[in-house]
Amino acid sequence: MSLKLKALKKSLWVYHVSGGSCNNCDIEILDLLTPRFDVERFGIILAASPRHADVLLCTGIVNKKCVERVKEVYQQTPKPCVVVAVGTCSCSGGIFRDGYQMAGPLDKIIPVDVYIPGCPPKPESIIAGIVKFLKELK
């Protein structure tokens, strides 16, 4: 395992990107920070800028107005980084896939490493998804 990957796995700094979601996945991501789930005990914290982030948590269909912004955020994130598609919308487009504002799903725009489906995925399953990926990462 390269040094970079080893460092990446130690303490994940997460940056949250919303590309036109219904804000439910976003609330569940926030829930991760609050006393019941409290992911900070695993060394995971939400970073305020993509330049500090190891992981991008992306939600929403990525609509035509924010597609450039999402790309820009991805470019600003230092590599290697992990891109996680949270929720059905960013995995496949879900109920909105036929809409005129749809530019996604997310893997059309940026490379995605982890898919966590669900509408919305429970906080437990978001944690499980990240843990599963970290175990696979070599």
């Binding site: 036929d98 809409g99 005129y100």
Partner: protein, 145 residues
């Protein structure tokens, strides 16, 4: 309340449809719109709710929804616009809050609001193709004609 409105508007009402005692639809001429809204909004004290734009086979239709909260009554003012050149006077001078929905109706349905101070793209991208109005019936749901 309905009687009161009928009396105040008199012959400006072309058609009245009472769906039930809490939902009333009034058809008015588009030239009278400003006067009618002035009476309903300023003098009778209704609360502005929203504007609905609809494309019919031969005409565009705009519905201005107002609510009288004390009575629980919703009055919808219905106006018809021509298909070729749909335009109507902007109500921003009477109701400041109506500005955003007029922009939305303009960009999604292509109805021109005369006298609107800031008729620019609101929900869609700045470089959205011209003359492509997603809510029109000729446009498919994925935004192609």
């Amino acid at each position: 309340m309905i009687e009161n409105i009928k009396e105040r508007l008199k012959d400006k009402i072309k058609e009245i449809k009472i769906h039930n005692e809490r939902r009333v639809y009034l058809t008015i001429d588009r030239k009278d719109l400003k006067d009618v809204v002035n009476i309903i909004f300023n003098e009778l004290g209704a609360r502005y709710q929203i504007v609905t734009g609809i494309e019919n086979f031969d005409k565009f239709e705009l519905l201005y929804h107002f609510s009288f909260d004390k009575q629980g009554l919703i009055i919808s003012l219905r106006t018809f616009l021509d298909k070729e050149n749909p335009e109507i006077e902007s109500l921003t001078s009477i109701i400041p809050g109506i500005s955003y929905i007029e922009r939305e109706v303009w960009e999604l349905l292509g109805i021109n609001f005369i006298g609107h101070p800031n008729l620019k793209h609101f929900l869609l991208r700045e470089d959205w193709p011209e003359n492509l109005y997603p809510l029109r019936k000729g446009v498919k749901k994925d935004g192609r004609k």
